[in-house]
């Protein structure tokens, strides 16, 4: 038994002395390996009588287990040390910038504002209608009660195309109102639509661009009157501008396709040169509106003695400029990356009424 004890002490000493995983493995092989000191002793068991073998076997197994446990304990200590050392080597400078893959693009303010408007008018039951940019005289003028020689045609600086075989000339729509005509010709009342889109006028200066966007609204049924027009736009501007109270003023005006006609102003203040939408001393014009002219209804095959309704039109850029404080109309079409990133919207900011139109 002295020999077993010697072997035990030697094996435990070797385990304790091992200062690396490799040294520990060598100590394990020396004690418990096939040719190890303990394995060597255990090989001798076979030659013993059963009684002696039982006693010796138990003692040897106890030593074997003790050494194995010591090896396992030493191993976990050594492995933890090795891991610490590796982690220390793996240190990086976490202040370095991340990979350049997280840039987000932007949504143009015109798109964003048109989505905001659609979200609001959807609540009031308006569908979104569309029409072509290239129009004929009928849809852009005649059906809208603007006959060929009407002075009102000179209010529009119309872009025309060349003369066609029949002598007529197509044009770029000067307003989104032709969509009213297309809608009324294709659909029976009741009608509630908005029609956002590109419009064109032959005009270019500080406050005009040859292309811009409008949003048209049209309601046709048997009972809608001017009070509803007022109510509709009042709710719209208050919701759109997301301020507590936006006063709305209707001013008599003239459009060939509506009667009575009204220009729509919203309240604002200009204290200290800063424009703020809401209650204030000044008014800002945001669009035209009125009750659809009987001649327009007639041109679309709708009986004005039975049906009536209102229409309105607003400039999309103007509304975007007023809401988001964008100073210059012309910059909308410049594709200047700096402008787009500054005034554009991140793609996940989808305007909703439940979550708020604007972050």
């Amino acid at each position: 038994m002295d020999e077993l004890d010697k072997i035990r002490v030697a094996a435990l000493a070797a385990v304790a002395a091992a200062d690396s995983v490799e040294a520990l493995e060598a100590a394990r092989v020396a004690a418990l390996g096939k040719k190890g000191s303990i394995s060597g002793l255990m090989a001798a068991l076979g030659k013993m009588d059963p009684e002696a073998r039982k006693a010796a076997g138990a003692a040897m197994n106890a030593v074997k287990d003790e050494v194995a446990e010591a090896i396992a304990a030493a191993k976990s200590v050594l492995e933890a040390k090795a891991l610490d050392a590796r982690l220390a080597r793996e240190k990086v400078d976490v202040t370095l910038p991340v990979r350049p893959d997280s840039q987000s693009g932007r949504i143009h303010p015109i798109s964003q504002v048109m989505e905001e408007m659609a979200a609001i008018f959807a609540q009031m039951g308006f569908d979104v209608a569309e029409g072509p940019d290239i129009e004929d005289d009928f849809h852009n003028f005649t059906a809208l009660n603007i006959p060929a020689e009407h002075p009102a045609r000179q209010m529009h600086d119309t872009f025309y195309f060349g003369e066609r075989e029949d002598g007529s000339r197509h044009l770029l729509r000067t307003h989104t109102s032709p969509v009213q005509i297309r809608t009324m010709l294709s659909k029976k009342p009741p009608i509630r639509i908005i029609a956002p889109g590109r419009t064109y006028r032959c005009d270019s200066d500080m406050t005009h661009t040859p292309m811009f966007h409008q949003i048209e609204g049209l309601v046709i049924d048997k009972t809608t009157n001017m009070g509803h027009l007022k109510g509709c736009l009042l709710e719209f501007v208050t919701t759109f501008f997301e301020v507590d109270e936006v006063p709305v003023r209707f001013r008599p005006s003239f459009f060939p396709f509506t009667e009575p006609s009204a220009e729509v102003d919203i309240g604002c203040s200009r204290d200290g040169g800063e424009l703020k939408i809401g209650k204030g001393a000044s008014w800002l014009e945001i669009g035209g509106s009125g009750m659809v002219h009987p001649n327009v209804l007639r041109a679309c095959g709708i009986d004005p003695d039975e049906y009536q309704g209102f229409a309105f039109g607003m400039g999309v850029e103007r509304m975007a400029m007023l809401k988001y404080g964008i100073p210059d109309l012309r910059t909308f079409f410049d594709s200047d990356l700096r402008w787009l990133k500054h005034y554009g919207f991140v793609p996940l900011d989808v305007p909703t009424l439940s979550g708020g139109l604007t972050r």
Partner: protein
């Protein structure tokens, strides 16, 4: 339309303040553009008296004045040549706002002498152009009084008149609207006919073919002799000057006055230069007229002229002729008061490009019943201001029938206008506007006045009633609306919205560019035909409808590069124009990337954009639109503006749905933009429509209990063979098991031989009912190798 407050008050008896008139005009639809009230800026000025003026010791041109302010004597250094003792002057003391500079006056020191105030010229007060010296006031002006209390300042009101309100192109019409709205009383217009002393030596006649009788239904004239055409009186000159007209002579000023006072343009001929009778007729081909503006015009047969025996003496309703125009030497005058057809007048003015105050009124319609009275009023004024004697009137034609009766149901005001207005008040409003109103069954019968040609139907009357009653009286009524709102976007609109947000989330920046571009650029992108040109472009740079969204995006990238931003991605969703008819346009989502796809970075290798960036954007857009990118065939016949070897087309059957690739370097050179630029175009309406489903339930998910496994294969095939063919062949080899096939290596080089390439693919097998045995896996592998060989000729690389 401009007028002064006192001018308005010559027609309107009112106690209202300027601010009240301002607000009311706008609420009547006569929108106030500007009110210039000179008194507003002159509050601080007082009247001073120079009691002593002596030479400045250090400056030849300056004088040191002792000025009595009424409260004491101050010292003012002044450079005006007329600064001298004894005169009454306009004085500003420190703190007074000076209109011309926009600043407040400060105490000064001029060449060593203190100056405690300033004496002003008319120009410094913005009351005129005179700056030759300081303003000198009447000797009896009270020293120390405020300037605004001594001088009368007439505020100038400028309003914009909508095209329907021809009657408000005269001050009287404006006054009538204000009176109708309760802001005063319209003064009566008293016409005292002047008895003619002799028969007019010049007669008037109408000579029109049957189809052009409406060109001039009535022509009234009158001859004057012994007239002296000197300057007009100060009050008339002041009014004209205030509204920006230059006083010329009494006769011309009278015609201008009638134009702006009563919206009744007149013309005066120098009768001595008129040869025979004056006839209103259509111009004859080849006739010319030297007009009062000094320009000669060639006339055409649809234009109306006033002609004597020698030829045209005036363009009816547009401008008079120079030959018979009145001068200071004129002693015999012929007055023309006529009615001309609005449409013809407008066409003539437009064709000859003549803008005149007369044209502006005739083309909007003058009062057809106000010819004789206007002639009488003008006669009285001519005789009063120029002396002489008037002939009897000469009249050709007759007043056209303008009267019409309109039935008005009073309840329509509320039904249409949304505001209840009592019938009695409706009657009052209409009567005040000049209508004749009588009872008619349950409602009213209304005859609008001759000057309101714009009122032709019941709804016009409703507008007048609620307008004068005040739009602010209309209650805002909430729209009746659906109890729960439904989605309102069409499938196409939803798609566009998804694509927009998805492209932006990939780092592309949305922009909006013109629908038109230079035709040279259109030609590079398959457009630029004559039919797509605008007849009147804003500039040659924007003369043609865009055949593609790409040229504008490419040029925009160039502009950004010029600003120092060379790496960017832009996209636009909008229409491209395929033809000149309405509807010949397609909704396109198009995008470009330019510069580095991966910028310089400490960890990642930088890389320039390539065709696969554009392809990735395109496939992402298609997926965002709800379509399956794998359902399209890929062709290599992209349009000519793409690099022929680095571009592709996605097709459904034969129909192209999208294109992508590097933009052709030749196109970039022509656009003067540095590349490479990669681009894609997706025709949104060409995508297959999304299938309508009865419910929104998703198909049941099938989750296998067995692990998928991957096997790699490398094939050697002809370099021209497409990877797509290999992938499809592999995928189709065992559809039930193969869930994914991808390319992980491509090699071309000496190891595979000339004209060959090696393509390595990874195939994912997904068993669903049991674990695959080695034999089964091997069998699938064999099928893949055979399938690829058959489809592409590719052999497994040894």
């Amino acid at each position: 339309m401009k007028f002064t407050l006192s001018w308005l008050k010559s027609h309107l008896d009112t106690e209202a303040t300027l601010a009240e008139i301002d607000a009311r005009l706008t609420m009547l639809g006569l929108e106030v553009e500007e009110i210039h009230d000179p008194a507003k800026d002159l509050a601080g000025f007082t009247i001073g008296h120079i009691v002593e003026a002596e030479q400045h010791p250090n400056a030849d041109r300056l004088r040191i004045c002792k000025v009595d302010t009424g409260a004491g004597i101050i010292q003012v250094v002044c450079g005006a040549p007329n600064a001298r003792a004894g005169i009454k002057v306009i004085l500003a003391q420190p703190g007074t706002f000076i209109p011309v500079s926009g600043d407040k006056l400060k105490k000064g020191n001029v060449r060593g002498i203190e100056s405690q105030g300033m004496m002003c010229s008319w120009r410094e007060l913005k009351l005129g152009e005179d700056h030759d010296g300081i303003a000198e006031l009447d000797a009896d002006s009270p020293v120390g009084a405020k300037l605004v209390e001594v001088m009368r300042f007439d505020p100038v009101i400028e309003i914009s008149i909508t095209p329907n309100r021809a009657d408000c192109l005269g001050v009287r019409g404006v006054a009538r609207d204000l009176a109708a709205s309760g802001l005063g009383r319209l003064k009566p217009l008293v016409v005292n006919p002047v008895k003619g002393g002799y028969v007019s030596p010049i007669n008037v006649a109408l000579d029109f073919p049957e189809d052009a009788k409406s060109a001039c239904p009535m022509f009234v004239g009158r001859h004057f002799k012994g007239v002296k055409n000197g300057p007009s009186p100060q009050w008339l000159q002041d009014r004209l000057t205030a509204i920006g007209l230059r006083p010329i002579s009494a006769l011309v000023d009278i015609t201008n006055f009638f134009t702006f006072d009563l919206a009744r343009p007149l013309h005066v001929f120098d009768a001595a230069k008129v040869n025979g009778a004056l006839t209103a007729r259509l111009a004859r081909p080849g006739e010319k007229l030297m007009a009062l503006n000094g320009k000669e015009y060639e006339l055409s047969a649809e234009m109306t002229v006033i002609a004597d025996q020698a030829g045209p003496e005036g363009l009816a309703g547009v401008m008079g002729g120079e030959h018979s125009g009145c001068t200071e030497a004129t002693t015999e005058v012929f007055l023309e008061v006529a009615a001309f057809d609005p449409i013809r007048t407008a066409a003539t003015g437009r064709k000859l490009d003549i803008l005149s105050d007369a044209r502006f009124r005739f083309e909007r319609g003058i009062d057809p019943a106000f010819l004789i009275d206007a002639a009488e009023l003008a006669t009285a004024m001519i005789v009063e201001l120029c002396g002489g004697e008037a002939s009897e009137l000469v009249v050709a034609g007759a007043e056209p029938d303008w009267r019409q009766s309109i039935a008005l149901r009073p309840e329509r005001a509320e039904a249409l206008g949304g505001v209840a207005v009592e019938t009695k008040r409706q009657e009052l409003i209409l009567t005040a506007l000049g209508c004749t109103v009588s009872e008619h069954g349950d409602g009213l019968l209304v005859v609008p006045p001759s000057w309101r040609g714009d009122i032709t139907a019941e709804h016009d009357l409703v507008e007048e009633i609620i307008r004068v009653n005040g739009y602010d009286q209309i209650p805002a009524t909430p729209m009746p609306r659906p109890t729960m709102c439904k989605p309102v976007l069409t499938p196409g609109q939803r798609r566009a919205a998804w694509v927009r947000r998805h492209l932006a989330s990939r780092g592309l920046v949305e922009t909006v560019t013109w629908s038109f571009l230079p035709s040279a650029q259109a030609k590079l992108f398959g457009g630029g035909t004559a039919a797509m040109h605008l007849a009147n472009p804003i500039s040659t740079d924007l003369d043609c409808m865009r055949p593609s969204l790409l040229p504008n995006l490419v040029v925009a990238a160039g502009r950004n590069a010029d600003r120092g931003f060379k790496d960017l991605g832009l996209f636009e969703i909008g229409a491209q124009f395929d033809g000149p008819e309405p509807g010949q346009q397609r909704a396109v989502a198009a995008g470009i990337r330019v510069g580095k796809a991966v910028p310089r970075h400490w960890k990642e290798a930088s890389r320039a954009v390539d065709v696969f960036d554009a392809k990735a954007d395109l496939l992402a857009a298609i997926a965002a639109a709800g379509a399956n990118p794998d359902s399209f065939q890929i062709g290599t016949d992209a349009p000519s503006w793409y690099h022929p070897g680095r571009s592709g087309v996605l097709k459904l059957g034969n129909k192209p749905v999208a294109a992508f690739g590097e933009v052709h370097p030749g196109v970039l050179t022509a656009l003067d933009v540095k590349g490479p630029i990669v681009a894609f175009e997706l025709f949104l309406e060409a995508l297959p429509p999304q299938k309508a489903k009865a419910t929104k339930a998703k198909p049941l998910v099938k989750l296998s209990a067995f692990q998928p496994l991957e096997r790699d294969f490398a094939f050697v095939l002809d370099a021209e063979m497409s990877a797509d063919a290999v992938l499809r062949a592999a995928r189709n080899a065992e559809k039930a098991l193969i869930t994914d096939v991808s390319v992980f290596d491509l090699y071309e080089g000496p190891n595979v031989g000339e004209g060959k390439k090696s393509l390595a693919i990874s195939v994912t097998l997904q068993p669903f009912d049991k674990t695959l045995t080695d034999e089964e896996i091997e069998a699938v592998g064999k099928k893949i190798v055979e399938g690829v060989l058959k489809a592409t000729g590719g052999v497994l690389r040894g």
